[in-house]
């Protein structure tokens, strides 16, 4: 139980800058991303999985949004979201949080 509480604290600290309303928005909006992407790592998938640390994932999506990073469909898709929305999506898919989640199976 102690361990569980400690972990709770750590994860809360990681995500505290994402307001709850935005988190709920991200959990619903992320569903469309999952039409193409796996949230976890998968062998041999043509389309990249989303299991990256939130900061790296956010950076990548923001770069698609500005056009700094080229791609086929991702630049067109990223332009449909605000900076805050892309950050909230990245936080939802955050690999480090996913790992913590699985500790408590």
């Amino acid at each position: 139980m102690k361990q569980c509480l400690l972990m709770m604290f750590c994860v809360c600290a990681l995500v505290e800058d994402i307001p709850a309303a935005q988190e709920a928005w991200a959990s619903a909006s992320a569903q469309a991303c999952l039409g193409c992407h796996r949230p976890d790592s998968g062998e041999g998938a043509v389309i990249p999985a989303l299991d990256l640390p939130a900061e790296l994932l956010a950076q990548r999506m923001l770069a698609y949004r500005t056009g700094a990073l080229g791609g086929t469909v991702m630049p067109r898709i990223a332009r449909g979201y605000s900076v805050a929305e892309l950050r909230a999506l990245a936080a939802f898919f955050d690999r480090d949080r996913s790992r913590d989640d699985h500790v408590d199976k």
Partner: protein, 443 residues
């Protein structure tokens, strides 16, 4: 699991106690879905009966998602067929580039993931007393009904094009026997023959589908019947990804494909199936193979249930996919009027996932209807222009109180001046999308 529910105090109030992140992520992980989650109901949630009608991309996704994120509810999926035959990529089958078996999927994994799969035809819906009537007379009660009936290919809309005519001049707009029939007719066509492809007015399933089909039929003919012609008789004046398709046709197929639009008088108004004649307002065209794609509407059960309007399609509250015409019923996929969102497998899958969240939340929180989860959705549709080259259209959408609206400045088409390498990359991504989608829904 408890850990999660505790941690998400705030998000919980917004999204309902059972919508935790791990379940939401896990719902999409084929390897884990159905086995990694505790079946214990979150406290305070009364197990509900959710019935999903139709096991295509929309219905199967929705049933599987609800079973994964809210295993406390009983989810039944009603689907007459034991094997699902997917439409995306079926144009490759017509062109002899893919086996039909690569399009076919069973429901065993959904059943193993906790979905009560019922292989029966639904005959009727009593939306007042809330039950579905199956063909054997059994009544299936529901707290929420999710309708994903897909399309009905209308065999009463184009004079001369009835069920018998469809057996002679296939539509192949629902994949399976019709797909194989069209493939056989193409391979049996005499050298130098003419293929006609009749396209209806919008809305219909898969807006760029007819033009992808034209591209792949031309690729087939180029190899096996190089003096043949393909004539597209369109009931519209413009079509999806038109500049990209026309560029590809010129580059790859020369003069083989001829497109005629409504202003050219090309709309087919009558069919003489035994003689393989297509009549327009001005012409009487006899061809060797005719692929007639007739007008469509929501699957027949939508009318029985009273969720379709005079247009033949189903009006919904955008954010929740709740039927505008019947309480406790949601409509997703091709049958729904989702405005700017096209009738595509991608859109059906995205709508189904969001609808699953809204329904689960609605079942656990009576205030959710006034304040639905807000979300954006997106769509990506790939079209092959030849075996190893594809083009795409993408869009991002937000629900307003009246419609799913496309977000300006986002989305759009593959660049017209892209090198072949980009077209080939998009073909690889198309395959990646199909494999991922079908594995996450059926695998």
């Amino acid at each position: 699991m408890l850990f999660y529910v505790l941690r998400r105090g705030e998000a919980q109030r917004l999204s309902g106690p059972s919508l935790n992140r791990r379940r939401l992520l896990g719902a999409s992980v084929f390897a884990l879905a159905g086995c990694a989650y505790s079946p214990n109901a979150p406290q305070g949630v009364t197990p509900a009966r959710v019935v999903v009608l139709g096991g295509g991309f929309a219905g199967a996704t929705c049933a599987r998602t609800i079973a994964a994120i809210a295993p406390e509810h009983r989810v039944s999926l009603i689907e007459p067929n034991r094997t699902y035959t997917a439409c995306p990529f079926s144009n490759l089958v017509i062109a002899g580039m893919r086996d039909l078996s690569a399009q076919q999927f069973g429901y065993e994994t959904l059943a193993a993931a906790g979905v009560d799969v019922i292989h029966a035809r639904a005959l009727d819906v009593d939306s007042v007393r809330r039950f579905v009537v199956l063909e054997d007379g059994q009544r299936l009660a529901y707290d929420r009904l999710i309708m994903a009936p897909g399309i009905e290919v209308r065999l009463d809309a184009l004079p001369g094009y009835d069920a018998q005519a469809a057996g002679l001049l296939p539509h192949a707009w629902q994949a399976g026997a019709q797909t194989l029939l069209l493939a056989r007719q193409l391979s049996a066509m005499p050298q130098g023959g003419v293929v006609a492809l009749a396209v209806p007015q919008a809305p219909y399933r898969c807006p760029p589908g007819p033009y992808e089909r034209a591209s792949l039929i031309a690729a087939y003919l180029q190899q096996h019947n190089p003096t043949a012609k393909l004539l597209i008789l369109d009931s519209k004046d413009r079509f999806s990804k038109q500049p990209l398709f026309e560029q590809a046709w010129r580059r790859h197929y020369g003069a083989m494909i001829e497109w005629r639009g409504a202003s050219d008088g090309a709309a087919v108004v009558e069919i003489d199936a035994p003689a393989r004649r297509l009549l327009t307002d001005f012409d009487d065209i006899r061809v060797d193979v005719a692929n007639v794609i007739p007008p469509q509407r929501a699957g027949a059960i939508a009318r029985r249930a009273g969720v379709a309007d005079a247009s033949g399609w189903c009006p919904i509250e955008p954010a929740t996919f709740a039927s505008r015409l019947q309480d406790h019923v949601h409509v997703i996929g091709d049958a729904a009027i989702a405005n700017a969102m096209p009738k595509s497998a991608f859109a059906a899958n995205a709508q189904a996932r969001l609808c699953a969240l809204q329904v689960v939340r609605d079942l656990s929180d009576s205030n959710s209807a006034e304040q639905p989860l807000s979300a954006k959705l997106l769509n990506t549709c790939y079209s092959f222009v030849k075996r190893d080259e594809a083009i795409s259209v993408a869009g991002v959408y937000r629900p307003t109180p009246t419609a799913w609206q496309e977000i300006d400045g986002a989305g759009g088409f593959s660049p017209i001046d892209a090198p072949d390498a980009v077209r080939r990359a998009e073909a690889r991504y198309a395959v990646g999308w199909f494999d991922h989608l079908t594995r996450s829904v059926f695998g």
